[in-house]
Subunit: 377 residues, 2 copies
């Protein structure tokens, strides 16, 4: 086996475990901060590490365009280039090609597209996606798939899913097997149980080190997302990590963990940090809100992150009003810390068999205040 995954506790469908990679251990359920362009925005790697994050995500699409995978390889690989010595998972580029690039042309062989940066033309095939992630030195490589748009008819979803399956096989064939390095397949099939089951079964047949659920968090809403997880998870192997791509808000994460998901990534904590939105146990707070101008309390009482340990809401408010970079720096730090603390609490609750109670208590506080704060903003 390329990577080892051990499960130490179950609580309902939820699992607590450890994923052993070439660059260290990932404690699951895990949240991966997103380091799009070889940097987790507004954070040093030391800051990321200090939050308790074990693994970060890099974006193949962004890195292949700038600075290019070849340049990163020449500089010693992504870990060395960006000074992150922990595990790195890279996506395959498929999602960003669909959401960011221009003049896409999708064929059986590959997708060609124009860069959103300079309009230059590029091709991404399963083989090229494997090559790029190999050059980057990813611990966990994602197979190239087509992220099925939402909504899609069952026929559209099936054709797209079948293409992704053929690309999954080509990804597997092109992937360079090494000890400590993993390749994950991606289940597609939109909201259709038959397609999700067929996709999962075919991927298991090919054989991957882990399985991602793709095509969600694309506008379908939480209820439908949970519904898809409910009928998809049963078709994934128990002994392999499961990764829900691009998710999500704290309540999304808790619900997905309770349905058996082990790994998450999302830009929410970092993006929200740049836009003055702070995550707390009592919901999201918009630090630009005038009510914080003379609020001497920390963003969240009891939080041990640097933003809450040393600064007031009034100071954070001031930084955002004055467009000072330290605002995004501190708030991003807090948000990523908050997410990692949530994962830590989730893991502890699973070990204690108390996840349902933890979830209920968390969501009760979190949901109530989120509405109150949004109404006041």
């Amino acid at each position: 086996m390329a990577i080892t995954f051990t499960i130490s506790a179950h609580d309902g469908q939820a699992r607590r475990g450890e994923l052993h990679t070439a660059h260290g251990v990932i404690r699951t359920p895990a949240f991966m901060p997103v380091g799009t362009a070889a940097t987790v925005k507004a954070m040093t790697p030391e800051a990321v590490k200090s939050t308790g994050a074990d693994v970060i995500l890099g974006n193949t699409y962004h890195l292949m365009l700038r600075p290019t995978a070849e340049l990163v390889a020449k500089m010693g690989g992504l870990h060395r280039f960006m000074h992150w010595d922990g595990p790195i998972l890279t996506d395959s580029g498929g999602f960003q090609v669909m959401s960011l690039s221009k003049l896409r042309k999708l064929t059986e062989k590959a997708v060609t597209f124009q860069s959103h940066i300079d309009g230059s033309t590029h091709e991404l095939s399963p083989e090229r996606a494997m090559e790029i992630q190999y050059l980057l030195g990813s611990d966990i490589t994602m197979a190239l798939d087509e992220c099925t748009p939402f909504p899609a008819t069952e026929k559209q979803a099936e054709e797209s899913m079948q293409l992704s399956l053929r690309w999954a096989q080509r990804s597997k064939d092109a992937f360079v097997q090494r000890e400590g390095y993993a390749l994950f397949g991606i289940v597609q099939g939109s909201v259709y149980p038959r397609l999700r089951e067929e996709s999962a079964a075919a991927l298991r047949q090919i054989g991957f080190d882990g399985y991602a659920v793709g095509g969600l968090a694309v506008g379908e809403g939480q209820e439908l997302m949970f519904n898809v997880l409910d009928f998809t998870m049963a078709h994934l192997p128990q002994d392999r990590p499961r990764y829900l791509m691009g998710v999500g808000k704290p309540d999304d994460i808790i619900g997905a963990v309770m349905r058996g998901i082990d790994m998450f990534d999302c830009v929410i904590p970092t993006r929200a940090g740049r836009f003055a939105r702070g995550y707390t146990d009592e919901g999201e707070r918009n630090l630009r809100n005038a009510k914080f101008a003379d609020d001497a309390r920390p963003l969240q009482e009891g939080c041990s992150c640097p933003a809450c340990s040393h600064y007031s809401r009034a100071y954070l408010h001031h930084l955002f009003k004055a467009d000072e970079m330290l605002g995004p720096i501190l708030l991003t730090w807090h948000n990523v810390h908050f997410y990692q603390k949530l994962m830590q609490d989730i893991r502890a609750a699973i070990s204690e068999g108390k996840l349902a109670g933890f979830a209920e208590e968390f969501l009760r506080r979190y949901g109530k205040h989120r509405e109150a704060d949004d109404a006041a903003a």
Copy 2:
């Protein structure tokens, strides 16, 4: 005496010393990073401290407008508000009123102006400048002066200087004397020896804890600036710290230290860091320059700052090309570290009586490459 200044070594006109304030010791010659709006841009206070900076500068003009001195006082003072427990020097606001505000009206009593942020009308008098700096909790308060524009006729410079002297007396009268807290006067007089001498003599008569040289670094050029220092310094007391406001580049600082200056502040290292310009022993480097795209070397060999310890020029180049916040974060950190290392080397050279040799060697390397790099940029 409100603050203690001890001189431990002389080397020509240069002095090495220690200034003891309520919030700690400032080793001189000292460079103060500028924390305009209650933050040294793009740096955490821990990062600032790690560079070896003993003291930072805050701007009365910016803070009085946003978040206001009253708000800062309510939050426990500037040290607590921004989480900097070392000494803070605040300017009086006079310079920024002249350079940033709109619709200024200068009378004997005060200057009224409109905020550059929201157009609101404010008044700054010597008494109000003292009150604001008291509310902020500055260790070193600057008297309110009029920064004489350059160029100015001798008549204009004399009238302006005389107003500054009357404001200096009113500043002294309004300043609240406390152990560990200092008030500095500011010598004006433009480029005219007679006026500088008269200004210095009158300020000594009033009696200040330290003396700043103002009205320089306003476009007069290094030669003329050094010339003014040459005929001004003789009129300042030997046993009090001397502060050259708003200066400067490394070669400006070295030349001014050799003329007897003990303290400096300047936005150059922080501003340059945000605009991809890195300071090195071999001159300034523009990290956006394409020649750094695949340069695996650190910005400066042997530099112990985080940017040079962990990253390549290629990575810094990538960050600036991708508009990633970590670029300004790392490069500002490096630049402030570079300035503090320069001050540390200057202090060591003074103690060893080798300042002239150090200066010659530094300027030989620094000057040569600066030109080369600019030509290539």
